[in-house]
Structure formats: structure tokens, C-alpha cells
């Protein structure tokens, strides 16, 4: 199928380029969206392999496979890869593909910036992981070994892997900020006539808040790691107590970004959930306005609660109490979202295709993340749980069950729209059940480990933790392997399969379903008018 025949007028003169050249120079939001999604999928497996190596080491007490230094590098880079190179690009990929289709815009507002934003990612990913390879050839001492949080003074003293990671974070930050500006301008300026802000699809709303959070907080991270860089090489003392600096300041700066980052990762997913739930419950979304206001409330609250990540670093009691209550206050708008999701399904004519299964799995497991988060937010309890495996299990319920499974919900929901083919429902369901089973097998034992006092970020542990660690490792390997089903399913769907109709799901609502599947290369050149 040639592109020239699929869209009328306008671009016919534009020479069509095939092969690598097309992907390098494309300014088409669908192409760029596809590249983001593919990049994200690849990095998802890269980050996954790293953590499987970690879990293999933790299968038994004692050191079997690797040195502690290498272990430290793996956990830090795993986190950075999963957050910055898998989850965030996946969300940006959704935004690129879907926001113009959903709001009736012909493309993103700033197409060239869009292209650049994507092509900054591969170099950054290489920067992050290159020190591993260099170390094999005896250059340097490996990648960032401080954990993904870069805490000073450890990161001031670390090897050159820290510099690589700092520069990678700079590049990833620039890419994300450009993406955010693009999305905000698109949503503000390019909506179809008649689409007021309160008719905006919830997915676009979720992304809008994410974009503003990125713009407000990523530069703070960039500033913090810049200070780290000058501390390391140019003799400044921002975080060096010997020179009058303060290492705790780094924690404040880092988490001023780091906490909103959680919502940056989750808001796009919360935005897409109502679409999926409404479609498969055959009911309109419940509480549209309530959800929009909850998004805004969560966005605002997320920038004033950061210090709950280091309750044990030493703070006056009034500050502890403030951060405890403000953190707990986030559960109010979040509960509104949960009730809206449940109310959307209430008495609906539900059917359980793969996206719906993932959506329901998301609600249940993400609920566990929220409840365990409340426990951690409690200052008194946190003294025990801080830096234990309880925290690890908690944030994997938030970011795997909440983030990654949310992304999978969206992929299964929109894949037929993108490719024009139906995915294999049997493989999708198999993928879902294996993922849910093995995810819980991996992380429920980690709650127990944390409660029993096992600290995170250690390559070896006391004997009493052996059984739960062994179970967790088995779960992790099943979890990792079942993602191959996901990749295979995507592959066969791209290659062929049952033809998908324009309105892929019988009661799907929204502008994107009024286009063919796959949509023409240039869509909504004439903007639809919303009544």
C-alpha cells in the first residue's frame, strides 16, 4: 500500500522515502509514535534482563554470579532504564499516536521537534549502558553504582559511570521537556473546533498534567545533577559537607523531581483507563469532571510531598508530620479515581477481552500499591520499612502493575487501530494470566522480606530470607519469559492477522475510532467539528 494513494491532495508531491531514511527524518506523529513504542519495548527487555541477573544472584544467599559492585550497577541502571527509557517513552508513544487522533488534529504542533525528541533517546540509552561494555575492555569501573537516586556523597565519589548517567539524564530530560512542550501546545492550540477543554478525552487530560509536571520538575533534576557534576569535577561544594555543602540538600532536590515523576509515569495510564473501562462495560465514563479535577489535584499535591522518601534522614517532627499528612492527602483524589473506575464498570454489560483483563488487573494490583503506600507514608511505621524490600515491593506494584500493565492495557486496546490487524486473543489472555500470576509470585514475598527486615540493594542476605528470595526469583523468571509472549503477539499482529474495522471495539467512543484501521498516514487534515 503506497502512502500517496491513502491520503487526498496536499502531500502528494512530498517524496516518499523508504527504509532507514524515512524513520530518521519522519515528522509524522504516527511514525514517531511507533518509534517511541518500539524503543520502549526494546528497553523494557534490556532493563528486564538486568533485573533477571539480579534476581538470579539473589536466588540463594551468598555471592554466586557477580561481584557486589556489578550488582549495584545492575540495580541502578535497571531503574533508570525502566523509568526513563521504557515507561516514559511508552507514554510519549501513546501521546504521539493517540492525542492527534483523539482531538482531531492533523499532527502534533511541532513535528520537527518531535522527531528530534525521539532521536535523542537512543544516544541517551547508549550513554547509560555503555560503561558496562567499557568495563569489559578494562576502561573505567562500570556503570552508575549508586542506585538510580544518585545520592551524594556516594555519587560525588563514584567512578565515571556516574558521569555517563548524569549526561544521559540531561539528554533524556531535554527530550522529555521537548515532548511535553509539544503535547501542551498540541492540546491547547490544535483541538478540533467545538472540542472544549471539558470535552477533551481523559487520556489527553492525563497527559496534559503529566506534561506540566515534567516541565516543572525535570529542570530541577537537571539542576541537581549539574551541581553533582560540578562537585565532581570543578571543585564546587554543593553537596560536600567539608566545603560547607549539604548532602541532604541533594535528597531534597532529587525527590522534588522524583516524587512527581511517579505521577508523570502514572497519569497517562490513569487517563487511558476510563476509555478502556467504558468500552468494555458498554457504558459512558462515570464522573468525567471528577476525574479531571482529581488529575489536577494529584498534580498539584505531588510537588509538595517529596520528603516522605527520606523520613529517616533526620527532619524536625513538624516537617515529618506535614509531609506525612500531605502524602496521605493524595489518597483522596486517588480514591475518587478508583471509585470512578469501579462505577464505570458498575452494572455494565462487561466483556473480558485482553485490554479489559489488564485494566481490571491494573485496578486491583494498583490498589495494593496505594494501600501499601499509605503504610509507608506513616512516619512511625516508615522507620521500620524504610529502605527495606517492603518499599521495593510497594513501588513495583505502583510502577509495574500501575505503569507497565497500564501501558499493556493501552497497547492491546489500540494495537488493532495502529496496525489494522486484530492481535491474537488467546495469546493475549495467556500473557495476562501469566503476568498477573508471576508478578504476584515475585513481589508478594518481597513484602514479607521487607517486614522481616531485609534491606534493599544488597547482593547477599541472611539465611532466614532464603525461601522467600528463591520464590521471588522463580516468579521473576516466569514474569520475564511471559513478556516474550507479548512481544511475539505484537510481532504477529504487525505482520498480519484478522482485519480490524475502524471502530475496533463495538462500543468504543471517540474520534480515533471514526478513522480507518490503520488510520491513513495523514489524518484529520480537515478537522472534525464537535457538536
Amino acid at each position: 500500500m503506497s502512502i500517496a494513494t491513502t491520503h487526498p491532495g496536499g502531500h502528494a508531491a512530498e517524496p516518499y522515502q523508504g527504509g532507514l531514511r524515512r524513520w530518521l527524518t519522519t515528522t509524522n506523529h504516527k511514525d514517531i509514535g511507533t518509534m517511541y513504542m518500539m524503543f520502549s519495548l526494546i528497553m523494557f527487555f534490556v532493563g528486564g534482563l538486568m533485573i533477571l541477573a539480579v534476581r538470579a544472584e539473589l536466588f540463594q544467599p551468598g555471592l554466586q554470579l557477580m561481584k557486589p559492585e556489578f550488582f549495584n550497577q545492575l540495580i541502578g541502571i535497571h531503574a533508570l532504564v525502566m523509568i526513563f527509557a521504557a515507561l516514559m517513552p511508552a507514554a510519549t508513544g501513546f501521546a504521539n499516536w493517540m492525542i492527534p487522533l483523539m482531538i482531531g488534529a492533523p499532527d502534533m504542533a511541532l513535528p520537527r521537534l518531535n522527531n528530534w525528541g525521539f532521536w535523542l533517546l537512543p544516544p541517551a540509552a547508549i550513554l547509560l549502558t555503555l560503561p558496562f561494555t567499557l568495563a569489559l575492555f578494562g576502561i573505567g569501573d562500570g556503570a552508575l553504582a549508586t542506585g538510580w537516586t544518585f545520592y551524594a556523597p556516594l555519587s560525588v565519589q563514584g567512578g565515571m559511570g556516574v558521569d555517563f548517567a548524569i549526561l544521559a539524564v540531561h539528554i533524556l530530560g531535554i527530550s522529555s521537556i521537548m515532548g511535553s512542550i509539544n503535547i501542551i501546545v498540541t492540546i491547547f492550540n490544535m483541538r478540533a473546533p467545538g472540542m472544549t477543554m471539558m470535552k477533551l478525552p481523559l487520556f489527553a487530560w492525563g497527559w496534559l498534567i503529566t506534561a506540566f509536571l515534567l516541565i516543572a520538575t525535570l529542570p530541577v533534576l537537571a539542576g541537581a545533577v549539574t551541581m553533582l557534576l560540578t562537585d565532581r569535577h570543578f571543585g564546587t561544594h554543593f553537596f560536600d559537607a567539608a566545603g560547607g555543602g549539604d548532602p541532604i540538600l541533594f535528597q531534597h532536590l532529587f525527590w522534588f523531581f522524583g516524587h512527581p515523576e511517579v505521577y508523570i509515569l502514572l497519569l497517562p495510564v490513569w487517563g487511558l483507563m476510563p476509555h478502556v473501562l467504558a468500552t468494555f462495560s458498554r457504558k459512558p465514563t462515570y464522573g468525567y469532571k471528577a476525574q479531571v479535577y482529581s488529575f489536577i489535584a494529584i498534580g498539584l499535591l505531588s510537588v509538595v510531598v517529596w520528603a516522605h522518601h527520606f523520613f529517616t534522614a533526620g527532619m524536625p517532627v513538624p516537617a515529618l508530620i506535614y509531609f506525612m499528612f500531605s502524602t496521605m492527602a493524595i489518597s483522596l483524589p486517588l480514591a475518587v479515581l478508583f471509585f470512578c473506575w469501579i462505577a464505570t464498570m458498575w452494572k455494565g454489560a462487561m466483556s473480558f477481552e485482553t485490554p479489559m483483563l489488564f485494566a481490571i488487573g491494573f485496578i486491583v494490583l494498583f490498589g495494593i500499591a496505594g494501600l501499601t503506600g499509605l503504610i509507608l507514608a506513616d512516619v512511625a511505621a516508615d522507620a521500620q520499612y524504610h529502605h527495606s524490600y517492603f518499599v521495593v515491593a510497594h513501588f513495583h506494584y505502583a510502577l509495574f502493575a500501575g505503569g507497565i500493565m497500564g501501558v499493556m492495557t493501552g497497547v492491546y486496546y489500540w494495537l488493532p487501530k495502529w496496525t489494522g490487524h486484530m492481535y491474537c486473543e488467546k495469546l493475549g489472555k495467556l500473557h495476562f494470566w501469566l503476568t498477573v500470576f508471576s508478578f504476584n509470585l515475585t513481589f508478594i514475598p518481597q513484602f514479607f522480606l521487607g517486614l522481616a527486615g531485609m534491606p534493599r540493594r544488597i547482593p547477599d542476605y541472611a539465611l532466614q530470607f532464603a525461601e522467600f528470595n528463591a520464590i521471588s526469583t522463580v516468579g521473576a523468571f516466569i514474569l520475564g519469559l511471559s513478556q516474550l509472549i507479548f512481544a511475539w503477539n505484537i510481532w504477529i499482529t504487525v505482520r498480519g492477522g484478522k482485519k480490524a474495522e475502524g471502530r475496533v471495539w463495538e462500543s468504543a467512543e471517540g474520534l480515533e475510532w471514526e478513522l480507518s484501521s490503520p488510520p491513513p498516514h495523514h489524518s484529520w487534515e480537515t478537522q472534525p467539528v464537535i457538536k
Binding site: G9, G10, P106, A109, L110, P153, V156, Q157, G159, M160, D163, I177, S180, I181, I184, V185, F188, N189, M190, I215, A216, T217, L218, P219, V220, L221, A222, G223, A224, M227, D231, R232, H233, G235, F238, D240, A241, A242, G243, D246, I248, L249, H252, L253, F256, G314, M315, P316, V317, A319, W524, E525, T526, Q527
Partner: protein, 202 residues
């Protein structure tokens, strides 16, 4: 169709505003450095102890200005356990330990303890101790009358020295505080600071 593809003129304005926001957030990160310092001075975050101003203007054993410190009546109705600890930062070949590990004091009572500090290298080195008090609320009420941290200390090759510390826990300290930990970190001066570039220098 042509209409739909002409970009609305307000793109650039919006982009400009958003970029301003980005720049503002970046500047905010650097503004936090002095702001945070001020916050710590005022509230005692991070255990920055009281009486530091008098140290800086070299009044020696000052710290007891009659205006600021009322006659310290000793509060015999309660006692606070003060624990002492200390670390030597990497790059400084010294070791240190408190000769008194902990002490029960009545607020308002003058107490004296000593730390034993030893230079394990065969050259003369100058170091500076930086104190920190936990919990932070106690920091403002922990007054050091005399302290080896008031000035730089130079130890000859292999020299060991007992370094004195005299302090008062002021009676104004909150009644809920039963334990105070005083911790020192000894830093080497003279280019022993850890940076990537200076680390290899012996």
C-alpha cells in the same frame, strides 16, 4: 483543507511561556541552595547547632552571651542522655573515638568530655571537625562552650591527642527529648577532598 494546515499564530507565544517555566524551574533548583541553608539556620534542620555565630567571629570560648543565654538554672527534675560518636571522612588517615560513650546530664549542667584523635600517617595533617546533633530540635539547645571543632586541628606524624569538649544542654530543651546524639565528622583540609580528579593524588 488549507485552512486546517495553517498553524495557529499563538504557537510561538505558548512555547515561549513554557520555556520560561522550564528556565524558572532550573533556576529554582539553584535558588534552593542558599534558601535551604537559611532554612537550616532558622529551624535547626540537619542538626546545625546553636552558637555557631560566635564561633565564626573568633570569640574563642564565647557562646554564652548574657543577653541570649539566661542564667542556666540546672533542671534537676529530669536528665537527658547524650551519646557521642564520630567518624573520619575518607581521605583523612586519622582515627577518632569518644573516651566517653554516653552521659546522663541534667539540662543546664556544664559537662566536659574528651575525644581521642590519632594521626595514623607519617606526615603532619590538618583537619576540621564538623558537628551534628540529632534530633534536629535539640540542636538549638545544645550549646558548646569549648570545642575542638571551633578551630582547625593539626596532628604531627603518629601523634595522638585528647581533644576536649565542654557543653551545656540548655533547660529550654523540649521535655520530650530524652536522648541526644552528638556526632563529629573530621574532614581533611589541604586538597584531600574527594573528587574524581584529586583522588589519585597521594
Amino acid at each position: 483543507m488549507e485552512q486546517a494546515r495553517t498553524a495557529p499564530p499563538s504557537h510561538n507565544r505558548l512555547i515561549g511561556r513554557l520555556l520560561l517555566l522550564v528556565a524558572g524551574a532550573f533556576v529554582f533548583a539553584f535558588a534552593m541552595v542558599p534558601l535551604y541553608d537559611v532554612l537550616c539556620q532558622v529551624t535547626g534542620f540537619n542538626g546545625k547547632t546553636g552558637g555557631q555565630e560566635t564561633i565564626r567571629d573568633n570569640f574563642g570560648f564565647g557562646g554564652l552571651k548574657t543577653a541570649t543565654a539566661p542564667e542556666p538554672a540546672v533542671d534537676l527534675t529530669r536528665s537527658v542522655r547524650v551519646e557521642f560518636t564520630g567518624t573520619v571522612m575518607p581521605g583523612l588517615p586519622w582515627d577518632m573515638r569518644p573516651l566517653t560513650l554516653s552521659l546522663d546530664v541534667h539540662p543546664g549542667e556544664l559537662q566536659q568530655v574528651t575525644y581521642l584523635v590519632r594521626n595514623t600517617s607519617n606526615r603532619s595533617i590538618t583537619g576540621q571537625a564538623v558537628p551534628s546533633v540529632t534530633p534536629g530540635q535539640a540542636a538549638q539547645h545544645f550549646e558548646k562552650i569549648e570545642c575542638f571543632c571551633f578551630e582547625q586541628q593539626t596532628l604531627g606524624p603518629g601523634e595522638a591527642r585528647e581533644m576536649p569538649l565542654a557543653f551545656i544542654v540548655k533547660p529550654a530543651v523540649d521535655r520530650s527529648i530524652s536522648h541526644i546524639t552528638l556526632s563529629y565528622a573530621f574532614f581533611g583540609l589541604e586538597g584531600q577532598r574527594q573528587t574524581l580528579t584529586s583522588r589519585e593524588v597521594p
